[in-house]
């Protein structure tokens, strides 16, 4: 399915609601399976980054290769070296005691004085993780309450909440596949998705339920507006991704990548999942 704005003619008239939800439903099931598998093997649905698992992350600019860096830090529990553009390097270390960590900071400040260091202890990471989980749950419940209060009809409100849920689950599964860890930054991005993914759903529901006219026209009108909304956010976030990529700003790269993934699934879930449920609801109500 290609979604190039202005070029696509959104017309779901010839499809039944059941046909429309096939693709998103299949993706949702696959995502849930992926997350559950991860949950069983690692205890977390998404791989936690050092913010939650504890460890040390070092960002530095150097022409040294990954192998040279591994040799430099051979005495320390270096777990991962990844490379950005412009000589940007990201190093991850496992847990260390205070003395070891101090000697690591000494070494780094001596060899790479311009580095950025972030160290999170294991218990502190666990505290952060617990709080992050609570934040996500409360955010989602809060969002659902606002939606139910604002629409006051069960099926349309549920459609919005289900779409938002599917967005999050699919995004989380994709993070696992392409290896973006759950950090404070990506948690923020997921929370942002809860808020933003309902934007176009609310627009769609409002247009379909509150406007006069043929369903197919209302859906098309809503799509024309909605796809622009998503495109603008997509454009802003892409800009952020490109700049942060060039500048090796890890946290912004992660946040923007998660937002972009989420926005793609948002298009899918709004215009297939949510639209299908709404179509089914309107047809059922109209048939009475």
């Amino acid at each position: 399915m290609s979604m190039i704005m202005g070029l696509i003619n959104y017309n779901i008239e010839k499809y039944t609601p059941q046909q429309l939800v096939v693709i998103p439903l299949a993706l949702l099931v696959i995502s849930i399976i992926l997350l559950s598998l991860n949950m069983v093997t690692t205890g977390m649905p998404v791989k936690p980054g050092i913010d939650f698992s504890g460890g040390t992350a070092v960002t530095l600019d150097t022409a040294d290769t990954a192998d040279q860096l591994r040799a430099t830090f051979a005495a320390y529990p270096l777990t991962d070296v990844s490379e950005g553009v412009n000589n940007g390097k990201f190093l991850k270390f496992g847990a260390m005691d205070d003395a070891k960590f101090r000697s690591l900071t000494d070494l780094i400040s001596q060899k790479y004085p311009d580095a950025k260091i972030d160290q999170i202890g294991e218990t502190f990471g666990k505290t952060l993780q617990e709080q992050a989980v609570i934040a996500i749950i409360f955010s989602f419940i809060g969002m659902a309450i606002v939606i139910y209060l604002s629409f006051r009809t069960f099926v349309p409100a549920t459609a919005v909440v289900v779409s938002a849920f599917a967005d999050m689950v699919m995004t989380a599964a994709t993070m696992n596949i392409i290896g973006i860890p759950l950090t404070l930054g990506t948690t923020a991005a997921l929370l942002m998705l809860i808020g933003y993914s309902v934007d176009s759903d609310i627009l769609l529901t409002n247009r379909v339920l509150k406007r006069q006219g043929k369903l197919v026209d209302k859906l098309k009108g809503a799509f024309d507006t909605g796809i622009i909304m998503t495109s603008t956010t997509f454009a802003a976030v892409t800009a952020m991704l490109i700049v942060s990529w060039i500048g090796s700003v890890q946290i912004l790269i992660e946040i923007s990548a998660v937002l972009l993934i989420g926005l793609v699934f948002d298009v899918l879930n709004t215009w297939l999942t949510n639209a299908a449920l709404l179509k089914w609801y309107v047809q059922k109500e109209g048939g009475k």
Binding site: D98, T232, A239
Partner: protein, 486 residues
């Protein structure tokens, strides 16, 4: 558009408020060149956008709720003895234990002492946390860094588990040393003229109490502290040897921290008489009356501790950014913002192909960011990278909502009558308000929790939503109406 029409738009109160806020924001941000000719502003940067470091310490202590049939004082004393550590009463049903124990380890001890645990939370009481905060601030002041922040993270149960120190312009090594460092404390006694003799060092002081009034309830402040057996002997010997017991007024006792005198006073007559015959471990240094006395007592308490914290801590997390990296992040953040605004402008232009619509949209969008930045400057909020991400997301969704308004008003026919316009605008606003409410609610948990750097991000996103709904969207509704009805 002629000048009369422009005046018509500007004098609309919604547009007028927007313009006034933009001007105020620019004043608040105050972009200027500093003495060296570098661009500068009132914006404050967090630790990932400027050189600095942070250390988060975890308290090795816990606050435990209890019930007991025994006398509370007796119970607490017993606990302290059994656990061989300082145990103090927080309130009638909670004690603070200044050593790390799991709940499982404490259960039998409480049972043996004749009580039962009703709650368990790692951390210290608010009062102890404030104490720690004061001591750390005092240490930081000694190195004179211009921009330091000490923050205790207190949970909803009033138990503080962490304290976070942020130091701008200080590298990680320095910060680690600073937080770990203890001063050299010494008591000396005046002999003849300006000479003095050593009495004891800080290691002879076994505990220091919080400032108190003596007699209790009076306005006379001071600090009690306890000496070790050896320290008490040394104190008595020196006082007798150098004549402080016979002639207190001419043989002041001086307290020095890192060789600087921080307290100087004679022995009280009572104490002088007593020291002639018996040594004492419990001493009380009075600091005067009223507010000044109380402040002096607080400082003396810190000095007596010589920078040692009243409770053990471990480093829970730390980090630091170098000056060049901070500068680069700042530049990247600025570029990302500008680049985002431009690409958003292109997308909007692609859709509407009408400069008369696109220009106001982009300008309103930019003004929203400007107002947010103005507000950030005003409240001296420290911007960090997640905040920047929040601002860019506000940019992206801000324009979304302008699209909703435009499309709603443009729906079926370009020139709406005022009545239809109001109806369509209110329909658009109802969509926007619902969307804004969900973002607000979704971000609220983060804004209320102490999830490290994400608090700032959440607050900025919420502020962005509020500025949008209350100020910029209504103004845009008015502007677009004027433009479309031409």
């Amino acid at each position: 558009m002629n000048s009369k029409e422009i005046m018509g738009i500007v004098s609309d109160w919604r547009v007028a408020i927007l313009l006034i806020l933009v001007v105020l924001s620019i004043i608040a941000i105050y972009p200027h060149f500093d003495e060296q000719g570098h661009p500068a502003s009132n914006l404050q940067y967090g630790l990932d956008l400027q050189q600095g470091s942070w250390i988060q310490l975890e308290f090795n202590a816990e606050v435990v709720g209890f019930t007991t049939d025994k006398q509370t004082e007796e119970f607490v004393t017993d606990l302290s003895k059994w656990l061989d550590t300082e145990v103090s009463l927080v309130d009638a049903t909670h004690v603070e234990i200044r050593k790390s124990y799991t709940k499982e380890a404490l259960d039998p001890v409480f049972a043996d002492a004749g009580g039962k645990i009703t709650s368990y939370a790692p951390g210290v009481s608010k009062a102890t946390a404030e104490d720690v905060k004061r001591i750390l601030e005092n240490k930081i002041n000694q190195i004179g860094t211009k921009d330091a922040k000490v923050q205790t993270l207190t949970g909803m149960n009033n138990v503080a588990r962490y304290v976070r120190v942020e130091l701008a312009g200080v590298d990680m090594k320095q910060a680690q040393e600073l937080v770990g460092k203890q001063g050299k404390f010494e008591i000396r006694v005046m002999t003849v003229g300006n000479s003095s003799e050593h009495v004891l060092f800080g290691d002879s002081i076994t505990s220091v109490q919080m400032p108190s009034q003596s007699p209790p309830g009076s306005d006379k402040w001071g600090v009690s502290f306890t000496l070790s057996e050896a320290g008490a002997t040394a104190f008595q010997d020196a006082a007798i040897k150098y004549g402080a017991t016979k002639d207190p007024a001419n043989h002041y006792l001086n307290m020095l921290l890192d060789n600087k005198t921080v307290y100087s006073a004679p022995l009280s007559d009572d104490l002088a008489r007593q020291l002639n015959t018996v040594k004492t471990r419990q001493l009380y240094a009075s600091t005067g009356t009223g507010k000044a006395g109380s402040t002096a007592a607080t400082n003396l308490e810190i000095h007596l501790r010589a920078g040692a914290l009243p409770v053990g801590v471990t480093i829970a997390g730390s980090g630091g950014v170098s000056a060049p990296l901070g500068e680069r992040y700042k530049l990247m953040a600025l570029l990302a913002g500008i680049f985002a605004l431009i690409t958003v402008g292109f997308v909007i232009y692609y859709r509407y192909r009408e400069p008369g619509i696109v220009l106001p949209m982009v300008l309103i969008n930019a003004s929203e960011i400007l107002i947010l930045l103005g507000f950030i400057s005003l409240i001296k909020f420290q911007m960090d990278l997640p905040t920047i991400a929040g601002l860019i997301a506000v940019l992206g969704t801000g324009i979304d909502q302008l699209v909703v308004i435009t499309d709603e008003i443009l729906h079926e026919g370009k020139v709406p009558s005022p009545g239809v316009y109001v109806k369509r605008l209110s329909r658009a606003l109802s969509i926007i308000v619902t969307a804004a409410a969900t973002v607000f609610i979704a971000m609220l948990p983060l804004a209320l929790m102490d999830l490290s750097t994400l608090k700032g991000f959440a607050i900025i996103t919420i502020l962005g939503v509020l500025v949008g709904v209350i100020i910029t969207r209504p103004a845009y509704g008015k502007v677009i109406m004027e433009i479309l009805s031409k």
